[in-house]
């Protein structure tokens, strides 16, 4: 639990967090536009800026009190920077040893095993300047883990990477967060990273913390800042099933089954499915004779007011998860949709998050 109220002025920018309590378990994402104060808040939380003022405690331990500040090196945190910030005068192994030498001797996983886990075992004796962007971040993550942090901070670690490396690292970060149990504070301005990783979202704007809520809460409200770019999105949780003879792989829970096609079947570890509301349409009767594979019975829960002639309909699935559909206000009137009504959701396209 991070609890406090921090202020920090950087040039003309003022961070004025307001009082906050952030549950630190799983991945907590700091989300906001660039310039909203995410990085500044993270610097204040980690003690990297000596001009920080206010109060902060971590699990009851005092980190900041007025102008007094527990030095960063005594906070037991790990930090993965946007640019990795690897030491250029040390090899990959040297960078990892730097962390290990200064970490408490608690006998956690060794250098070799952590390097192997993040996929850089074969790069250990290389010069860090020869690494690709993705490899650099893997080293940075390994380095942070080897210092045995109680809180792992990541400041837009993927923003400089290509889409393929981004995908691979998202998976790695997600898996490591689960395997190690270390709470993660993760900064991003990309909704897709939030949807992929977050258990909790801290929304920031204009140097303030606007709202702290679970991912589920964040996705359930129609005005969520996560929807600014692509419109409303649903994230369904579930597990992958066995691929059948037709090449279709089921994903979902006991009550809800969504069929995936193509190479999706290879992504065995995926647990989240991302569905844009505009890719979901509604029918009052069970559709027959249509090419769309996935149609699921739903209960209309809420209909948000029309915006530019379109409405977002929140539908409850059989397993209790929420699926958003975006339809025209005209269709809504035609179908006489009202909360409480039963309908069928037709899903045109899904994206497996991994």
């Amino acid at each position: 639990m991070l609890k406090g109220h921090l202020t920090l002025r950087q040039g003309s920018f003022l961070l004025e967090s307001g009082p906050f309590e952030i549950e630190t378990a799983g991945v907590t994402v700091l989300f906001g536009r660039s310039g909203s104060g995410k990085s500044t808040l993270l610097r204040a939380i980690t003690g990297l800026d000596k001009h920080t003022r206010g109060t902060l405690s971590f699990n009851g331990e005092r980190w900041q009190d007025g102008a007094w500040r527990l030095p960063t090196q005594k906070r037991d945190i790990g930090f993965v920077f946007q640019d990795a910030a690897l030491f250029p005068h040390l090899s990959v192994r040297g960078n990892l040893e730097y962390a290990l030498k200064r970490a408490p001797k608690t006998g956690g996983p060794g250098l070799e095993s952590v390097a192997a886990r993040v996929g850089i075992a074969h790069k250990l004796d290389q010069d860090v300047v020869t690494l690709s962007g993705g490899e650099r971040q893997r080293v940075a993550i390994a380095r942070a883990l080897l210092s045995h942090p109680r809180l792992l901070c990541m400041d837009e670690p993927l923003s400089a990477l290509d889409w393929r490396a981004k995908g691979e690292l998202l998976t790695l970060i997600d898996e490591l967060a689960h395997e190690t149990g270390i709470p993660v504070l993760y900064i991003t301005h990309a909704p897709i990273e939030v949807e992929r990783l977050a258990s909790r979202v801290v929304f920031m704007a204009n140097g303030r913390i606007e709202r702290i809520e679970t991912l589920r809460e964040a996705l359930a409200r129609p005005d969520s800042p996560l929807f600014d770019e692509e419109g409303p999105v649903s994230v369904l949780e579930g597990a992958m099933g066995q691929t059948d003879a037709d090449g279709l792989t089921p994903f979902g829970t006991d009550q809800v089954r969504i069929l995936l096609t193509g190479a999706c079947g290879e992504k065995r570890s995926a647990t989240r499915l991302r569905i844009l509301a505009r890719d979901v349409s509604l029918a009052m009767d069970e559709p027959r004779g249509v090419s769309i594979l996935n149609h699921l019975p739903v209960t209309i829960e809420r209909i948000d007011p029309a915006h530019e002639g379109r409405v977002t309909v929140a539908c409850r699935l059989a397993d209790g998860q929420l699926l958003l559909a975006e339809i025209t206000a005209f269709s809504r009137r035609q179908l006489s949709l009202e909360p409480g009504a039963s309908a069928y959701a037709m899903i045109k396209s899904v994206a497996l998050m991994e």
Binding site: T46, L48, P71, T72, Q73, K74, D76, I77, G78, F79, F81, D83, A84, A85, L86, F87, P88, H89, Y98, A99, R102, A103, V129, R143, A144, S147, C153
Partner: protein, 229 residues
Amino acid sequence: MLGLTPGEWQAIWLTAKLAGLTTLILLVLSAPLAWWLAHTQSRLGDITAALVALPLVLPPTVIGFYLLIVLGPQGFVGGRLEDMGLHHLAFSFEGILIGSVVYSLPFAVQPLREAFSAIPPRLLDAAATLRASGPDRFFSVVLPLARGGMLTAIVITFAHTVGEFGVIAMLGGNIAGETRVVSIAIYDHSQAMEYAEAHRLSAILLGFSFVTLFLFYAINRRAMSPLKP
């Protein structure tokens, strides 16, 4: 050896001692000063930077003149020393050592400052998150990354002190074994029309300076690794 007289060996040894001690003192003094200059945003930084750079543009005679006034028996520092029953610092090795430190200060501070400025602050943040304390960060990150600048500072400070003349001429008084460094001995020999001696010492200085600079450029080219984060 080399056909040098004991007096000339003495001048060479004295010069090496002066340059060596000057370099050592300046490294210790300049490192924190250069670090502060590289990171401060205050007006005081500009003033200090200007003060540090003064010896670059001032005639050495000006520095020598003021130091003579300050360190001499009636001077602020020299006078206090005399009052304490100690000896004032003009015309002594300690005096020209102080003179050399002042005179060569920008040659030590400038390369260190540039080297420190080139170190991305992120790396120090990263070291702090890896539990490195302030001094630990300085020795484990700053110094290794500033090694090119350190080498430059050491070589240039040493060579510049070896080549110093004006300050020592004003402050030193040409005393064998105490203040008669090679450059002063050359001046002395040439004034006394002892051309052979002047030639010998001059050739040694010329050779030393060239070899130093040559080694410096050769080593620097190899030692400088890219500092890209």
